[in-house]
Amino acid sequence: MAHQLIELKDISKSFQREQTIIAALSPVNLAVRREEFVAFVGPSGCGKSTILNMVAGLLPPTTGQLSYDGAPVRDLNRRVGYMTQKDTLLPWRNVADNIGAPLELACHKTGKTGRMDKIRQMVELVGLKGFEKHFPGELSGGMRRRVALARMLIYDPETLLMDEPFGALDAQLKLVMHDEIQRIVSLGHKTVLFVTHDLSEAIALADRVVVFSSRPGQIKIVRDIDLPRPRDVFRIRFSPRFTELHEELWDELKDEVKKGTDT
C-alpha cells in the first residue's frame, strides 16, 4: 500500500517555561490520506494548532516522527498553505496586494496582468469586492480572515492547513464560505487539516472528525463522517444522519469542554 500523505507517529510536544515543562500534546497517532478533509475539534489549549504548526514545519515535535508524502518534515513544509489563527497580513499592504503577495515571489512568479486577474477572482470568491484598496487595519476581523484565506488559495498549495478560518464570521457568511471551500477543495483535489471550535462546521465539511481531549491534548475519538458528497451545506444540518453524528460527537466533546472550564 502506498504511504499516506501526512503521518503522525507518536508525536508529542512539550514546552519549557522557566523551570517547568508543560506537556501540550501527549503522543498522538494519525494518518491523513491524500485529498482527505480532516477536522480537529476540542477545547482550547488541546494542541490542535500545535499539530498544524508541526505539519507546516514551524515547530519540531518533541518526540515521534512526522512525515509528509513519505519524507520526514525537517524544515518548512512549502507544499502546505497555512492560514494561522492570528492572521499574518502585512499591515502596509492593501487587500489586493496582500492577496497577490504570493504571486510576486520568484517561486510563483506571475505576470502583472495574470496576477491582477487572479486577485480579482479571489476578491470575488471571498466577497470583498470594493475593499481592494483598504488596509488590514481598516477591516473587521471577519474580513481579515477572508483576506488571509484568499492569500492562501491564490497560489494553489497542495494541502491546506486552516486554524479557525471562519471563527469571526457571522452565521450566514459562514455558510457561504463553507460552500466555497467545499467546492475549491473538491475541484482542486486538496488535502485539508481544519481546526475549529464549531462541531457543526466540522461535521458539515469533513470526511473525518478528530475530537481532542484537554490538556495535555490527545486524540479522544476519530469519527468517519459518512454523509454523501457533494453536500449541500445549507441544508445538511437538517438531515437525520447529521443530527445523529452531532449528538454522538457532542457527547464526547462536552466532557472535555467541561473539564477545560473547571480548571
Binding site: L58, Y82, T88, P91, W92, A101, E104, L105, H108, G137
Partner: protein, 285 residues
Amino acid sequence: MSAQPRDPGAAAAVAVAVMSAAASRTGASESARSVFLHPVGRAAAQIAIVLAMLVLWQFGSGTLFPRVWVSSPSAIFARLVQWFSSGSIWGHMAATVSAAAIGYVLGAAAGVATGLLLGLSRKAEQILSPFVIALYSLPKVALAPFFVIFLGIGIESKIALVAVTVYFLLLYNTLDGLRDLDRGWADAYRLMGANDREIVRNVMLPGIMPWIFSGLRIGVRYAFTAAVLGELLAGNQGIGYLIESSAGQFNSSGIFAGVFILVVCSVVATEVISRAEKFVLHWRN
C-alpha cells in the same frame, strides 16, 4: 510601539500623544463643565498665559531679576532683528544646519545598515552586543574633543559628533524593530516559498519602517543638539558659537536669541520628518 520607550524623545512623543488624546476625550465629554475645555476658550487661556509670562519677564527684568541675567523679550527680539537685518545670522545658521543635516544623513544610514546586519545575524549580534552597549553607554559628547583633534574645529568635527549620536539612535531603533517584528509575517512568507532576500525586501524592511521613522523623528533633535554642543565646545561659527560667545560677553539676550533660533530650526526639521513619516506610513491611520 512599546509602552516603555528607551529614550527621552520617545517618552516625550508618547506623552504628547497621550496628552492630546486625553485633551480631545475630555473636550468631548465635559465640554459643558468649563469654558476652558472649549477649543476657543482653551486657546484664549493659552494665549493669556503666554502673554502673562512675556509681560512678567519684560517688566520683571531689571526689577525682580537683574537684567544682565535674564535679558528681556524686547531685548531678545531686538537682537534677533539685528542679526537678521545685518545678515550676520545666515552664515551661522547655515553652518549649524548643514552640520546637523550631513551628520544626520550619514549617521542614520550607517545606523540602519548596522542594525540590519546585526539583526539578521543573531550570532554577530550576540558577539558584538557588549561592545555596542559600552559605546552606547558613553555620553557621546565626550567624543567631541577627539573629533576636534582629528578633524579640526571646522564643520567636519561637528558632522562627526552628530553622525555618532544619530548612529546609535538608529542602530537601536532598527534592532528593536527587527526584534519586535511579528514572526508570523516572515513564517507566512517562508511557507509561501519566499527566499531570504524576498523576506528581507517584503517583510523586514517595510516592517521596521515605523521604528526607523520614530528614530528619524527623534534624531532631528539629537542632531541639532549635537551640532550645537560641538560648536559650544570648539568652533568659530554656528548657532552654538553664537551662544557661547554671547555667554562670554555676559550677553544673555544673545544666548536666548541663539537658543530660540535653534528651537525654530529643530521644530521645522522635525515637522518635515513627521510629514514624510505620515506620507510613507499612510497605512497606519
